[in-house]
Assembly symmetry: C2
Homo-oligomer: 355 residues x 2
């Protein structure tokens, strides 16, 4: 620390992202990246972009990308906000909407950046426990609050909520905003985007990092009523006018244009997830039903931390959270079939894994 | 506005960047972009980057870029912070350092994003006037404060402060941080980077947007004592883990590696600036001596707004600020010699410009 720090900085506990190893030859199933490359159309757009044009500022509005997203989701231009990955969109949304009188509500087990944002902006929050099957009980959120956020599907559980439960919450929770973080929605959940047309109290946040294979390009977006988007734009334009560089805009637009590739790779991951789930269950794992590109699994007899360490020794990275209630679980990203076969084979070699 | 906004959002007045026209055929001298393309080495790095790797998250530390910058400036790795353009670096620095008991001090006429950040974070600030020649009088900053920030060279004046004046301030202002925004330092000023090695109360912020021709790639950085960088990292990692995408990192590293191109293009702009200054003076303009890639000039008889409108009609964009004290000035970015010749010729056609 330093006497030059703003006093509030001393109490921050920053988010810790999953390991990005510099070592090669590892099978990376620890940060929910997509095992398939970006769409060839997007790669071509990035290669073909006239790089000499980078001397000019990018479009601060990212107009081309907002237009592509509005068309894709059949919304209006004013319903679309874009940012430097969904992490930045979330950070700006917490600032724009959640600095309220009442604490915000969020699940006790969910994306671990949410409480980091709360600490950054000095937002009070109440964490509501999941039920014993790791479901979010939205009925518990029907209480006075300064805002509500949850991931759907949730992380790291992979559990998805049906749309009618979210709509029921929107109908009664009319005095504060509900943010639905849909980073993983394309792997089997039903998006709340259609509720954006009917309700002014819901903001849907999605990302190009998972289903569109562009974690390294940093593009996320929010969809909501135009007054919500206006609030986000005010904060964004008080923070950084140009968060999306010209290449990120070009690559993201081209990705949206390639629906066939998006559908094909997403379906491959869903298939691999179902195969992996069956294989893990055969090895005496409890696997939470997943609608995402990862599975959350605990073994009936072997500690999660031990399995993580063992797999690391086999050059297989998975994620383990030292958190009460889930400390016995591994979060395993879905890779290619070859990668998942390597994982399953490595686990089969673990002494006594099948009892 | 919306009832879902955080109350503080209502009072924000966002920054308004210079116009990025979608119309082609304009000569853009309004946003201080570099008229020359990025280094061919950087363009090659962007073209050659294996785009399929974008499926993976970028390095949240941007290690390669920090290493390139530490070597370039002969600093340690821990003295370097990188972000999504110097605007993001500035925004994070205001949050990390300037939320203090006392108001911060800044020039009355300077980069207009500074007071926007103050409003965003509810930071009290005092604006100190420039002297009649548009110089920053650093002696006036020797008073109790929660932090000090100025641009050197200053914008939109182009005036530069000598290093010994900055060092004198650092010697007496030991209880708060001094941020020197050096967006334009490579066009003739003396950088305060060497003071980073001697003082723990100075943070130097620079950008790839101007002298490195990469405004569209969004890369900025801060150099300072490791405790200052640690403070910035804490805020950054509580906001967005991955602000620099993989392509931005690769392009910026390659740019740093091409010193010859950087020196050559910077010198060309300096030469064009001196030529432009002489031409404008011959047309009865008062031109503030500039150490940047723009000139700030007012005509002895013709109003700045009139000249801006006239030039726009000739497809020449320059920037005009409707602000008392400078409302008669134009800020003219330095383009290629051909572009500056077009500007001067257009002005020569203005009726009665030479009296």
């Amino acid at each position: 620390m330093s006497k030059y720090w703003s006093p509030a900085i001393n109490s921050l506990t920053p988010y810790v992202p999953g390991e990005q190893p510099k070592q090669s030859g590892l099978i990376k199933l620890n940060t929910n990246e997509n095992p398939y490359p970006p769409s060839p159309h997007a790669i071509a757009a990035l290669n073909d972009y006239p790089k000499e044009r980078l001397k000019l500022y990018c479009d601060p509005e990212a107009t081309l990308l907002k237009n592509a997203l509005k068309d894709y989701f059949s919304l209006d231009y004013k319903n679309v906000f874009v940012g430097n990955g969904s992490d930045e969109v979330l950070a700006l949304a917490f600032m724009a909407f959640f600095r309220q009188e009442h604490p915000i509500l969020l699940p006790e087990t969910t994306y671990s950046f949410y409480d980091v944002y709360c600490n950054l902006y000095d937002i009070a929050y109440t964490q509501l426990p999941l039920d014993q099957d790791f479901n979010i009980d939205l009925k518990a959120y029907e209480q006075p609050n300064g805002g509500i956020i949850f991931a759907n599907p949730n992380a790291p559980t992979g559990r998805v909520l049906p749309l009618e439960q979210i709509e029921a919450l929107l109908k009664v929770n009319t005095e504060s905003l509900v943010i639905v973080d849909e980073a993983y929605i394309d792997f089997g959940g039903e998006s709340a985007v259609e509720l954006v047309r009917k309700y002014d109290n819901v903001l849907v946040i999605q990302t190009f990092s998972k289903s569109r294979s562009m974690a390294g390009l940093r593009v996320g977006y929010a969809l909501g009523h135009e007054d919500l988007i206006d609030g986000l734009e005010r904060v964004k334009n008080s923070f950084n006018s140009y968060p999306l560089d010209s290449l990120a805009i070009a690559g993201a637009v081209a990705s949206i244009e390639d629906e066939a590739y998006f559908q094909a790779t997403t379906q491959k991951i869903i298939n691999s997830r179902e195969w992996t789930t069956a294989q893990l269950e055969a090895l005496d794992f409890n696997v939470i039903p997943s609608a995402s590109n990862f599975v959350f699994a605990s073994h009936q007899r072997i500690a999660g931390a031990d399995l993580m360490t063992y797999l690391r020794g086999k050059n297989l990275l998975v994620r383990h959270f030292k958190k009460p209630g889930i400390e016995n679980y591994l979060r395993i990203s879905i890779g290619t079939d070859e990668e998942m076969t390597a994982l399953v084979n490595a686990l089969k070699d673990y002494p006594g894994i099948t009892g």
